[in-house]
Amino acid sequence: MRKVIAILLLFIIGYYSLDVLLKIPFGESAGGVGKHYLESTIKETGAVNSVTAIVVSYRGFDTLGEVTVLFLAATGLGAILYDKKAKKRALQNASVIVKTSSKIIYPLIALLGAYVFVHGHLTPGGGFQGGAIIATGVLLMFISYRSFETNHKALSIIESLAGMTFVTIGFAGLIYGTSFLQNILPFGIPGELFSAGIIPLIYIAVGFKVGAELTALLDNLLKTIK
């Protein structure tokens, strides 16, 4: 019965959404704000990658919100899974080969993550991707070494400081410029590493923050109950 109702409902939703979507022309060149962003990214933000320019500069406020959402998830998860007695992770020790190779690979992954978030304004990628890559590297260590511990204190300090840096950069824009999160630094030469004003700074802060948050999140998940 429930299945029939669900399928009927979904059929209606599907029909109408297709009906609406078919009215949208597919593959036409960007109009509206998208066109404006493409035409003036370099001029207005100094970034070569216009997706990054939008994420960090034009819609930087969304990114602040996005960072908050991740922080919120890490906090909420910590609150929901909170336990007075700290638990050990219940994973087996891996074989020597895995251990040795992950020891070698781990710094490389961390380096790759850092590269991705530092070059966010030039190449695809940025703070979130870089942070996620770093967290996967730490996970590799978690899996291979039973005793591998992250420094919780340091993680939470990094998290906090990176978040505060983001907000502070925002306020700096308000104080030294005219609006919150305004790009107050010189843009430099587009395409070079040290360009695009505050974009790399924000992405570095985001990268650290996301890396620390996701690591803490994984650690919390791995350690709780059972």
Binding site: V33, G76, S160
Partner: protein, 484 residues
């Protein structure tokens, strides 16, 4: 001084709290209070400016529609002030009420919830609205499960499930809007959506109604609310009733008045409001647990607010805003006092409250006070808002809603007075030696004073409601200021 403080400062505090926790546990509790005090200071300075002339704050230095803007008009001024005030009393109340670890995380979630809800109220960009909506919702899910007991986790999961469904619809609506008008700025969308085919607009409207209606507790999407309200810690119940729902209703109304302002839509709202109100009040009647009863009453009150918005005239919108204000205050008071009544009686059941009026006179007094105020008896503020809503509906020439509202008020009176009479006219059983902490009493005291003050001088608030109603109804001025 700029409106962005409302969003950035609590966020900064949320990031700061874990650092402060390394220094001292007490600091963790104090920081949110300081932040909210500062925000009330910001409110006081900005309020006259915003009500007089909308302040449009640009983020990141790009002119709308290219950058994100914050729109601090009369209604946003009113709602941010309300959120700050309620947030402050909730903090006061939580100070001694939340004794369960992790206290640090509780305050972080609380601060981010304030960020999210002020963000919802202030933002002038639809995707940004979505982001803040998610912030508010995720904080709310986590706070619901804060006690980590069985029922809390169930309620939170149910809330999360329905909430994620809602945000899915919301995101789909944004996608379709962007595909059609290629802009995300609310004012810009309001201009351009007129050229969009009618069927598309209807579809988007339905998506919005589902997406935002869930948080606004509209029938039939409010299944999460009773569980979430009753299983969360008591101050969190006040957070839902006083902050989250208000922000959600505002955003729904803003979108409807900006994009789909037609009589049919408003009539639909009216009908939904009536159904929501009647069903909720009748369910409240049957409840055995006090916080569930309050939750249903809260849904019923939101139904009343939606009815008033659905009339869509200037006096009715004004009355609706006034009702939102009153409901936020009174429902917080009720949740606060109920929290300690439950704590003292040791049970969530209404039947366990027998005779507490003699044992815990002050807390019981606050509850009785709140009950009388929410029913809408004369010297309290609730009376005025209900009266104005009824008058405005009668003015619009609709008699059926008036009768239905009166009937639901009677139902409301019955179930509230039933609880109050249990408090006072039943025999005292056991006495509880624990006392209600002073900070909780102060929080309730502040609310009581404000309710009485507004009850005697309704014009104090009502005068500010007039520009707020105009702000919501006047689409042209929103577009003019929102786009420069």
């Amino acid at each position: 001084m700029s409106p962005v403080h409302f969003i950035a400062i609590p966020l900064f505090a949320a990031f700061l709290i874990p650092l402060a926790g390394k220094v001292s546990k007490e600091l963790v509790k104090i920081i949110p209070g300081l932040v909210l005090l500062y925000l009330s200071f910001v409110s006081v300075t900005l309020f006259p400016i915003g009500t007089h002339h909308p302040v449009v704050e640009i983020i990141a230095g790009f002119k709308p529609p290219f950058g994100i803007t914050l729109y601090y008009g009369a209604i946003a001024a009113f709602l941010t002030t309300l959120i700050t005030l309620i947030g402050f009393v909730i903090w006061l109340y939580s100070y001694k009420f939340i004794i369960r670890e992790p206290i640090e995380k509780y305050y972080m979630l609380f601060m981010m919830l304030i960020t999210g809800s002020t963000g919802i109220v202030l933002t002038g960009d639809i995707f940004n609205l979505f982001v803040f909506f998610e912030i508010t919702s995720i904080a709310a899910y986590s706070l619901t499960a804060f006690l980590r007991d069985r029922d809390g986790a169930e309620a939170a999961f149910k809330y999360l499930l329905i909430g994620s469904f809602a945000s899915t619809f919301f995101l789909l609506a944004i996608a379709i809007i962007y595909a059609n008008v290629h802009t995300l700025n609310l004012a810009d969308i309001a201009v351009k959506i007129q050229d969009v085919p009618v069927t598309t607009r209807l579809f988007v409207l339905i998506l919005f109604l589902i997406g935002l209606g869930i948080e606004s507790e509209m029938f039939p999407l409010n299944g999460w609310a009773p569980d979430a309200y009753s299983q969360a810690p008591s101050p969190v119940g006040a957070v839902f009733g006083g902050i989250v729902v208000k922000a959600a209703v505002y955003s729904l109304m803003r979108i409807i008045f900006l994009m789909f302002n037609s009589h049919d839509v408003l009539h639909f709202l009216l009908v939904m409001g009536i159904i929501t109100m009647l069903i909720a009040e009748m369910s409240a009647m049957k409840q055995q647990q006090i916080k569930r009863m309050l939750a249903f009453s809260s849904i019923g009150q939101m139904g009343l607010v939606i009815i008033a918005f659905g009339i869509g005239t200037e006096p009715s919108v004004r009355a609706a805003m006034f009702q939102m204000f009153n409901h936020a205050l009174i429902k917080s008071l009720l949740f606060f006092s109920a929290g300690y009544l439950v704590f003292h009686s040791g049970s969530k059941k209404i039947s366990a409250l027998d005779g507490l009026g003699h044992d815990k006179p002050i807390t019981s007094f606050f509850f009785a006070f709140g009950a009388l105020a929410i029913i809408g008896l004369p010297p309290f503020s609730g009376f005025w808002s209900k009266l104005y809503i009824l008058l405005s509906i009668a003015d619009a020439g609709l008699m059926v809603p008036v009768v239905l509202i009166l009937i639901s008020s009677i139902i409301e009176a019955v179930y509230y007075l039933r609880v109050v009479s249990r408090l006072y006219f039943y025999k005292e059983e056991a006495t509880d030696v624990r006392r209600t902490p002073v900070s909780g009493l102060i929080a309730m005291g502040i609310l009581t004073v404000v309710i009485l003050l507004v009850g005697f001088y309704p014009n104090l608030i009502l005068n500010w409601m007039t520009p707020a109603a105009a702000d919501l109804l006047n689409k042209a001025s929103y577009i003019k200021f929102g786009l420069f």
